[in-house]
Amino acid sequence: MSTQIHDLGYRAYAGERAGVAWAVRSLAVHSMRRILGLKRAGKHKIVPALTIGFAFLPAIVMIGIAAFVPAVNEFDIIRLGDYFGFISFALFLFTAAAAPGVLTTDRTSGMLALYLASPLNRTTYVLAKFIGIFSVMLLVTVAPIVFLQVAFTLVGSGPGGIVDFVASIARAIVAGGILAAALTGLGMFISSFPKRWGIASVAIVATMLIPIIVAAILTEGADAPDWVMFLSPPDILGKAWEHLIGDPVNNSLALDRLDSTLVVLAAIAYAAVFVGLTWWRYQHIEVDR
């Protein structure tokens, strides 16, 4: 290695110094870039590109059908409410890839100690990470629906009139926003435990899939009461999304029989609880100095 010291001088900095809000913003943007693999080697771009592509795929197919076979609309084949079901696995994968990559690694790579020695503290660190992950999650929870509604409108099979159009976009933002917040919170909380991001990723996917399977077996096979579905976060989040988007799918299952208001409130509660648990966890987490 070169041990020679190059002397290009060192200048004092007399310019402006921004505060904590700037630090939060910088860390949030940095986290978004890392999740998306921007300014990183090609292999880091594969998973985000594939999952985002997968989240848009149904929208592209639906628009194709609506554009070329307008008649199918009358048979109600294309339903917005189905969208979450189509892309749910992509959402889970995206959550499993995003949160561990920017939380677990901070603890093992020593970055957490450096972050906490900056103007950030444990709370603003969690806030910055939440903003970063949440913003990227919107790419898969809100963007495809907005894209779909805009495209439907362009091919003439979208919501009629400007008021309906704006309302449909607003619904997409609210429904996708709550979904993104809950998935971000869940991903962050789980990522705050293991030392390796791979374990965190597997744990996140398991936390999504196991409750879905167990709740389905209990309610359909074992005659458990319908409210058991409230204990399965991914089911509740999906159903709340359908209600908020204004097109709930009804297959006469336990999940479909739950009160829509309660389902939406439960989804909001899950988002709050997961984010709150992450905050609480990070107040006590040990930092390697």
């Binding site: 060192y10 402006e16 904590v20 790579s109 103007p119």
Partner: protein, 344 residues
């Protein structure tokens, strides 16, 4: 708001005025601690840290586990303390942590850094978090990496770097945002002797030429002795000695003289002049009291003249400085004694 940099004190004052009414007087210590205590559960790490650290380079000296890293965390406001008063750059880090940390650079003890991130990106990112705009962060990250000798390597992923290079990356990250105070936790840990010399010279330069006060923790006396202006010795969770290196040594220098013959005659003459002289074999140890106004080498000249007058062969004449190690060992004895007395 544009600010003119005049010096460390001006900066500190500037910080003080942006933070509120608690304005720090010019010339006040960078760090002021009084009866600071910290325990983790049942384990007491710091029992009573009382010390004023002046601007300049200060060595925080103590054996492993003495509480150096814990004290640094308290200075950064990362942990609540269990008692005492603490002021860093004129403010309590526990209540104004983010504002104080914006003006502190910190290099932790561990060498873990994200492996797949380029050195320049890491330093830029941290400069930005400390409040610098994007453009300035990029420029200053580059400058800081050149300064620490990693200019050519700044676009390399940190995972491919040696421990010595990582220590430099951490130092660059600590100074890129032009802090008023830099805290370095064992900055020479893991370096080979040549790298260690370079690193110490670099720290010395940053501390003396750029108006940045430095507190570095170390368990190596020799290191602290070489580059620090001030020393704080910690043992058993309390500050047992603090002051400038010269104060520590008692402000006196001894001169060691080796003669062919005539020891007693030379010694007697020097004693008559009021000096304290110890004879051991062919060597004389002449203890010189501090004479602030005199030429620092007056004692050497005087001994030379006496030897010439006595007309004996002079083999060697040189400084016999009291090393910090002597002070440290003496302090440890004292503190061990104090512990024994306390427990008795």
């Amino acid at each position: 708001m544009r600010r003119e940099r005049i010096g460390n004190d001006a900066l500190v004052q500037d910080l003080a005025s942006t933070l509120g009414p608690e304005v720090r007087p010019v010339g006040a210590p960078v760090i002021s601690a009084s009866r600071v205590a910290k325990s983790f559960g049942a384990t007491t790490v710091l029992t009573d840290v009382t010390v004023d650290i002046q601007p300049g380079i200060t060595g925080l000296l103590g054996s492993n586990g003495a509480g150096k890293t814990t004290l640094l965390s308290l200075l950064l406001g990362l942990e609540p303390r269990n008692g005492g008063v603490l002021q860093v750059l004129g403010h309590d880090p526990q209540s104004t942590g983010p504002e104080v940390r914006a003006r502190i650079g910190y290099s932790p003890e561990h060498h873990h850094l994200p492996a797949d991130v380029q050195a320049a990106d890491l330093v830029r990112h941290l400069a930005q978090l400390h409040g610098l705009p994007a453009q300035a962060s990029t420029e200053r990250a580059s400058d800081a990496l050149w300064l620490v000798g990693l200019g050519e390597e700044r676009f390399r992923p940190i995972g491919t770097m040696s421990t010595g290079q990582r220590q430099r990356v951490k130092l660059a990250a600590a100074i890129a945002h032009d802090p008023a105070l830099v805290l370095l936790d064992e900055p020479t840990d893991g370096l080979d002797p040549v790298q260690r010399d370079d690193m110490l010279a670099l720290i010395r330069r940053i501390g003396t030429q750029y108006g940045i006060s430095i507190v570095l923790s170390s368990h190596l006396l020799e290191e602290v002795e070489r580059i620090c202006d001030n020393v704080v010795i910690i043992a058993n969770g309390t500050v047992i000695r603090s002051g400038t290196i010269n104060q520590m040594r008692g402000g006196r220098t001894s001169v060691m003289v080796e003669l062919d013959s005539g020891h007693e005659r030379v010694a007697e003459t020097l004693r008559t002049a009021g000096l304290v002289v110890a004879v051991s074999g062919s060597k004389l140890l002449v203890d010189a009291p501090p004479q602030p106004d005199a030429d620092p080498y007056w004692i050497h000249d005087y001994v030379r003249d006496v030897v010439a007058w006595a007309d004996v062969g002079l083999r060697r004449l040189g400084d016999q400085t009291v090393s910090l190690e002597d002070v440290f060992l003496a302090s440890n004895d004292e503190s061990n004694e104090a512990m024994r007395e306390a427990s008795a």
